[in-house]
Symmetry: C2
């Protein structure tokens, strides 16, 4: 598929409470291929902030690596984010999950005062400079707002998160299932997914709609 | 959704090489909800056979629990397989992944001489007795063949696996992407998914088609 569009899909672990939200990542892969594109996954080679037992919600006495755990969603086909050459891709996309707010940044702990992991910040800025669209689902718009001054986006309806985004200079729009907000200046498309109380069909709708918006901006 | 069909979705960890194949599980959940049904996930509360680094394919010096790791795919909404009361459900379904052949059974190591974990064998037999359909994706038909004498099914085109299934008394049919084999006597529907060299859209097709077949047999 020499001429198909290539999307760099950036993961943050495997599991909603300490990594990438699995359904959002899977549905984004599905949406990309359904649009006739291809994906290559990337993640940073760093320790997870922590490991959460997804039944109890409690921290486990373990350490796991973000790149190695992300490979579970990618079926092994994943690269270190350091190897991402933006000109080899037509767009970048971020599924959600707490990994975005705990591993790719410290937004879960510091809110508007968060910092984004330097490799991730670099990739977002390079995408904007190269005029490549960025798609972001669920909580991942929060790190886009930290990096791109004044970007317009959505995380759905959560007031605390929306306020933190506005405190970072972002412009938050309230949305419902499957809605997409597009910032045409930065070429950023966002959708709420599991930031709302959603079913898996809502996640498919959101992933498909935001991916379509990304493809339209290529 | 009082009257919607309820499917027990049985997981075996989280990650293709030592647990449930993540895309197959996610797409089966999606297919169930798209058909108007609901799912409840279950897994056995046992240690994983081993933990595989999904980048290198090598074993890691760790121990993980099948129920706790499966909860990552289920976003925490999972129950111990011991709590599965067959009459509360309209069907049971098994996504694939090596977890089926390493955690729910020892098929990966013993082939036709494998045994299936007793709670899983019990649930399969109870489903047949209660005339509830069973859906199985990828490698999971192998454990159905171990439990149900003479069942007709598919794992795609892999000759070694097909021979092992026939050695257990199963009748294997060769299939391609998205195909479904239905055994009307046992009410078992199977599809190959990642037992073939497949894209994620092939997995969606297979999951949707096998789920439709399961719903038609309710």
């Amino acid at each position: 598929m020499e001429n198909s569009k290539k999307i760099a899909l950036i993961l943050s672990g495997s599991g909603v409470y300490d990594g990438t939200e699995i359904h959002e990542a899977t549905m984004t892969m599905y949406a990309i291929v359904k649009q006739g594109g291809e994906y290559q996954t990337f993640a940073p080679d760093i320790k997870q902030h922590h490991v959460i037992n997804h039944i109890t919600g409690e921290e486990m006495n373990e350490t796991r690596n973000v790149l190695i755990e992300s490979a579970r969603i990618a079926r092994g086909n994943i690269k270190n984010i350091n190897e991402l050459v933006i000109n080899d891709f037509d767009a970048i996309m971020f599924p959600g999950g707490f990994g975005v707010a705990k591993n790719l940044s410290d937004f879960a702990f510091k809110g508007a005062n968060c910092t984004v992991v330097s490799e991730i910040e670099k990739v977002i800025k390079e995408a904007v400079t190269a005029k490549k669209p960025i798609g972001a689902l669920c909580i991942s718009p929060a790190i886009i707002a930290r990096v791109l001054e004044g970007v317009e986006l959505t995380i759905g309806q959560d007031e605390g998160t929306a306020k933190a985004i506005e405190a970072m200079g972002g412009r938050h729009k309230t949305t419902n299932h499957g809605d997409v907000i597009v910032d045409t200046k930065y070429k950023v498309a966002t959708t709420p997914c599991y930031m709302l109380d959603a079913t898996i069909t809502d996640i498919a709708d959101g992933a498909i709609n935001v991916t379509k918006a990304v493809f339209e901006m290529m």
